[in-house]
């Protein structure tokens, strides 16, 4: 089911915090709304869920205006960033969500157990929902929304509050879990790795404005400005008065097109490579060198150039 945003403006306390001229989330796609904290990502997700009052414009879910009609609300399931539960067991919480969606009793049980098995929480069903660890709570949060089998699934920072070890495991399982519950999935994250591993499309949101949107490979290869490039992991340096956005691992030592000088600050032997930290003017850069080469001296100047995948930006 398609989700479309048209000429949207959301205002809070007299300040426009989100302005989106147009955006489309194609049916069956998984899109990551990606941006720094405070960019308006959650506001955009909440607007699609019909939870925000819009100043102007509209969001349509499957052609229906989001939020206003119960019918449109029934098409969308949302997992909030903070996994909230009512008193009682995990089973009671999952069951209540399905009851509120008016799912018949027999089907509730099937759906509940299927979602629990897929999200790896079958053993937690009788546990008090408010006594779960961060990782368990986010899995239950996910199971609750996936069990709804809504045509549109919204996930707000699905790995928030999950410790590092559990996160690695959860992140590796998530694409498979999402694939088994076909929907138009829109997730919010401030983490680049999550965005790229979970989604096939990206929407880059900075200061309430969409800076880039589309297939993730295309968005990555064509950052429109410096802020977007840096958010996507590029290192931006000013060379001959122009901004050069260099993707990770793209700096090479020696002459090449658009060479520039790096002041070497630190060289760290990482075992299989050397990690060089330096500066180009005011901008900090870091790059790798093979461990077999002689390490550059700290305080020396090194001539480097960017690979062909670097992008020249206008400003």
């Amino acid at each position: 089911m398609d989700v479309s945003v048209t000429d949207l403006a959301v205002t809070k306390n007299g300040r426009t915090i989100l302005q989106v001229p147009g955006l489309r989330f194609p049916r069956g796609s998984t899109t990551a709304i990606f941006g720094p904290n405070g960019a308006g990502k959650t506001t955009l997700l909440r607007t699609i869920a019909g939870l925000e009052r819009v100043e102007r414009g509209e969001v349509r879910v499957g052609g229906l205006p989001a939020g206003r009609e119960p019918l449109a609300r029934g098409l969308v399931g949302m997992a909030f960033q903070k996994a909230m539960f009512l008193r009682g067991s995990v089973r009671r919480n999952l069951d209540l969500a399905l009851r509120l969606r008016k799912v018949p009793a027999l089907e509730r049980r099937t759906r509940l157990e299927e979602a629990a098995a897929e999200c790896g929480i079958a053993s937690l069903l009788e546990r008090p929902a408010r006594e779960l660890s961060g990782g368990e709570a986010q899995r239950v949060n996910l199971a609750r929304v996936l069990g709804l089998r809504a045509p549109v699934t919204l996930l707000d920072e699905p790995l928030a509050g999950v410790d590092r070890i559990a996160r690695t495991q959860f992140l590796s399982e998530l694409p498979g879990v999402l694939a088994r519950f076909p929907a138009t999935t829109i997730l919010v994250t401030h983490d680049r790795e999550e965005a790229f591993r979970l989604a096939d499309r990206l929407v880059v949101l900075i200061d309430g404005q969409v800076r880039a949107a589309g297939i993730k490979g295309f968005v990555y290869a064509h950052p429109p400005d410096r802020a977007t490039a840096e958010l996507l992991g590029y290192t931006a340096v000013v060379v001959d008065g122009r901004v050069l956005a260099i993707p990770p691992g793209s700096l090479r030592v020696g002459n090449g097109p658009l060479p520039f000088m790096v002041e070497v600050e630190r060289v760290i032997d990482m075992g299989n490579h050397l990690h060089v930290l330096g500066t180009v003017g005011e901008q900090r850069v870091d790059f790798r060198l093979p461990s077999r080469v002689a390490p550059p001296e700290e305080g020396s100047t090194l001539r480097v150039h960017a690979g062909a995948d670097a992008v020249m930006l206008d400003g």
Binding site: R46, A49, G50, L51, P70, R73, G74, V76, G77, M78, F80, K82, M84, L86, R87, G88, L96, A97, L100, R101, K102, P128, L148
Partner: protein
């Protein structure tokens, strides 16, 4: 003490009348305070409006307001020369209910606001997104906040059943009409009838304890 026990065992109609009147007046006042105080407490907890902090401060002040001050205010309003004197409510049970309602309401509002504020702020949005209508949302939220809501009711009832100043001022402690346990204790103590005063004190404690046992059982049964 022996006399007090004997009086309790051979309780007469007057004593039962005082107990029943106390229970009815304080229960009605608490019920009205719940009807008014719980929605206000919810609105204060969830609402974002200008002057909210001022209102909360006023409620918190009201929670510690001496009952005699409220009694005095109600007396000024309802006395023959007051703005509502023509209603003829002074020295009636209705006047006592009004005074007790004003004592209990800030307590119910304050406890309700605190218990609702302790819930996740996005809980209503979660329920809305799941399709719960307004009444269903309120019902579920009340269920989640029930420990605090029952504490609000207990605080309100405890305050009004044990207060004496307001009931004495606006009720007048009229025998067979507005005499309740607390005002009767004052009267009997003044008369030097200490055994009867003690028996009334025991009845008051027993009554408050019985109501609180009931509410606490409801409160703790559904904890989880």
């Amino acid at each position: 003490m022996g006399d007090a026990v004997r009086l309790l065992l051979n309780a007469d109609a007057e004593l039962f009348g005082i107990v029943a009147r106390t229970l009815v007046i304080s229960s009605v006042a608490t019920l009205l305070a719940m009807l008014v105080g719980i929605p206000i407490g919810y609105a204060l907890a969830r609402g974002r409006f200008r002057g909210r902090t001022m209102v909360l401060s006023a409620v918190n002040t009201g929670m510690g307001m001496p009952p005699i001050v409220i009694g005095l205010l109600v007396w000024l309003l309802l006395s023959r020369s007051g703005p509502f004197g023509s209603l003829g409510l002074i020295y009636t049970r209705e006047a006592m209910v009004l005074a007790q309602f004003l004592i209990a309401t800030p307590l119910v509002v304050g406890f309700t606001a605190a218990s609702i504020q302790s819930l996740p702020p996005e809980l209503p949005d979660l329920l809305y997104s799941l399709g719960a209508g307004r009444l269903r949302r309120l019902w579920i939220i009340a269920g989640e906040a029930q420990l605090g809501l029952l504490a609000a009711i207990m605080a309100g009832f405890g305050a009004v059943i044990s207060e004496v100043g307001a009931s004495m001022t606006v009720g007048g402690n009229l025998r067979g009409s507005t005499r309740v346990l607390t005002t009767a204790i004052v009267t009997e103590t003044g008369r030097g009838n200490l055994s009867f005063a003690l028996a009334l004190g025991v009845m008051l404690l027993a009554l408050a304890f019985a109501v609180n046992i009931l509410l606490t059982r409801i409160q703790q049964r559904q904890r989880g």
